[in-house]
């Protein structure tokens, strides 16, 4: 049983990506009911995206109001029994990150953070600062993922490193973090996400799925061992 909490309040992408764009959030006795992606309730979601009447409406909030809603997301959503709660965050080291961490720590053990970078130095340069955020706030780093790592041309199979290569692995070495692996660019993944389709069901043979699967298995092992 897995939950995803989307605390990117200005740019909530999770609802669309998981094919549940226009759902409403209901209340029950124990709080807000999360949105489930299927009848088996194996994946529960909460996002400000579900609270917008008009999906194009901008959430123009300063820090304190964002902090307040994130506090509610953590304490007032009736997640039920979950094996894993994933929290998707916006870029940065600011209100959202502090709010979600402080609120989670009040009632839960926080296993750690996965840091996602693209291979270029411009990206790893910011992720170094995110690593410092984790260290300063006592958040363990479960590992670093190098995303958008290479593109294999579907016409001739030539691999192009559009966003460079290897920066994620170098960053892990530099900072003494675990390197979880590289995920290649895949237009099929992008299309699936656009249409809210299950990429894993639709393209189980893709190299991207294989890469993500290996990372997921590594993480599960790490969580079980801790």
């Amino acid at each position: 049983m897995v939950g995803i909490l989307d605390v990117d309040l200005c740019g909530p992408s999770i609802p669309r990506m998981l094919g549940v764009g226009r759902q409403e959030v209901h209340q029950c006795d124990s709080g807000w009911v999360p949105v489930y992606t299927d009848a088996q309730k194996s994946l529960a979601l909460m996002s400000i995206g579900f609270l917008l009447e008009d999906p194009d409406e901008a959430v123009v909030w300063r820090g304190p109001k964002k902090t307040a809603l994130i506090g509610q997301f953590v304490s007032d959503v009736a997640w039920g029994e979950l094996d894993v709660l994933l929290v998707d965050t916006p870029p940065g080291t600011s209100d959202e990150h502090l709010a979600v961490l402080e609120n989670l720590k009040k009632q839960h053990k926080v296993d750690g953070a996965i840091l996602v970078t693209t291979p270029q130095a411009v990206s790893t340069g910011d992720v170094r600062r995110e690593i410092t955020f984790c260290k300063k706030t006592g958040l363990s780093i479960l590992g670093i993922v190098e995303n958008m790592s290479g593109f294999v041309c579907p016409h001739c199979s030539e691999c192009s490193n559009i966003f460079s290569k290897g920066g994620g692995e170098e960053l892990a070495k530099l900072t003494g973090s675990i390197y979880l692996g590289a995920v290649p660019l895949d237009p099929l993944l992008c299309t699936s996400i656009e249409e809210g389709k299950d990429f894993i069901q639709t393209f189980p043979d893709s190299a991207t799925f294989s890469a993500i699967n290996i990372i997921a298995q590594t993480l599960l092992t790490c969580l079980q061992n801790s």
Binding site: G11, V60, G92, L98, V122, D126, R129, E194
Partner: protein
């Protein structure tokens, strides 16, 4: 239903609307303490009298290439040696501009006339919080109010001199940094915003919110740039849509929202490499399709700014 719009700490409604319920600042706003106008706004307006054109680079979505675009817009504008250009980086948590402009590790100095920006060329100046951090590992773990204070200082205390263009690079979103930039420049005149997107709906979804933000705060929109628009394989020369547009891309969005599509820029591995090395991609690979696309977008952007000649009595933008 959640009402999404903070009325503004200095508005008559501050602390009193239904959307103020639950906000930690509600009592402070309702007490009237926040309604006094910030004197910095007029100070900044005076400072900005010597800046002819101000362009904000925005996006709802992260990772679409705002900083890359801002840097290359600045390089292109400064290509005319008669023009004075500055690039202000207000991405407080993720300041990429120093590296992209090849001036990472430079220091900012103070003098009687304020902070001196870092010069990339004689006519191209840069300011970023990156220059104030002593290590590349330093994190800026600041909440909104402290970020706002920094942005105020950047606008008020940097000795920009006379500028033809001030380009402002922003982080993704519609929050403190964006509200502050618009608020502090509310008595100056902003030519408008260039909004960056990639072709996918997941990006456009957030960019539509950014457009709504611009309209709410009465910030003119110069146009939209569709970045990462196709990739030509260097080996077989076939084009792949790596970030496919399933809903018509920026072109359809611009038609629907009555906006100008300033251009489409393709993916090119040499862009990222140039940025990593702090070099101008436009100077390194001037004949590449991406460089030609950049120049076309810059030209379209300039045409818009030249149509408008600012005066110091320009209509004020929304104050927040």
């Amino acid at each position: 239903m959640i009402i999404l719009y903070c009325p503004g700490t200095s508005s008559e409604q501050a602390g009193k609307t239904s959307s103020c319920q639950g906000c930690p600042n509600q009592n402070l706003c309702a007490s009237g303490a926040t309604k006094a106008p910030d004197p910095a706004i007029e100070e900044i307006a005076v400072k900005m009298l010597s800046v002819k054109h101000k362009i904000l680079v925005l996006s709802g979505k992260g990772g679409v290439g705002k900083s890359t675009f801002s840097a290359h817009l600045a390089h292109a504008l400064a290509g005319d040696s008669n023009k004075e250009v500055a690039l202000l980086d207000v991405d407080i948590c993720g300041p990429s501009i120093p590296r992209i402009m090849g001036v990472e590790g430079e220091q900012v100095h103070q003098s009687g006339s304020g902070w001196s920006p870092v010069y990339v060329e004689d006519n191209l100046a840069v300011m970023s919080i990156g220059f104030l951090l002593s290590s590349p590992d330093d994190a800026v773990i600041w909440r909104g109010p402290k970020k706002n204070g920094m942005i105020k200082q950047f606008l008020r205390d940097v000795d920009w001199g006379d500028l033809d263009y001030l380009v402002v690079d922003t982080p993704p979103g519609t929050s403190d940094e964006h509200l502050s930039i618009v608020q502090y420049l509310s008595s100056a005149h902003i030519d408008g915003a260039v909004i960056i997107t990639t072709p996918q709906e997941v990006s456009l979804q957030d960019v539509r919110k950014e457009i709504r933000f611009c309209r709410k705060v009465k910030l003119p929109i110069i146009g939209v740039v569709e970045n990462m628009s196709g990739f030509v394989c260097p080996k077989c020369k076939n084009t792949s849509e790596i970030f496919p547009s399933t809903t018509g891309g920026a072109e359809r969005m611009c038609e629907e929202m009555n906006l100008t599509l300033l251009g489409r820029i393709p993916l090119d591995p040499r862009i990222g490499k140039s940025c990593d090395e702090g070099k101008s991609f436009l100077a390194e690979f001037p004949e590449s399709p991406a460089a030609l696309a950049y120049r076309s977008v810059v030209q379209n952007t300039c045409l818009h700014t030249l149509r408008h000649v600012p005066t110091h009595t320009e209509t004020r933008a929304y104050t927040h």
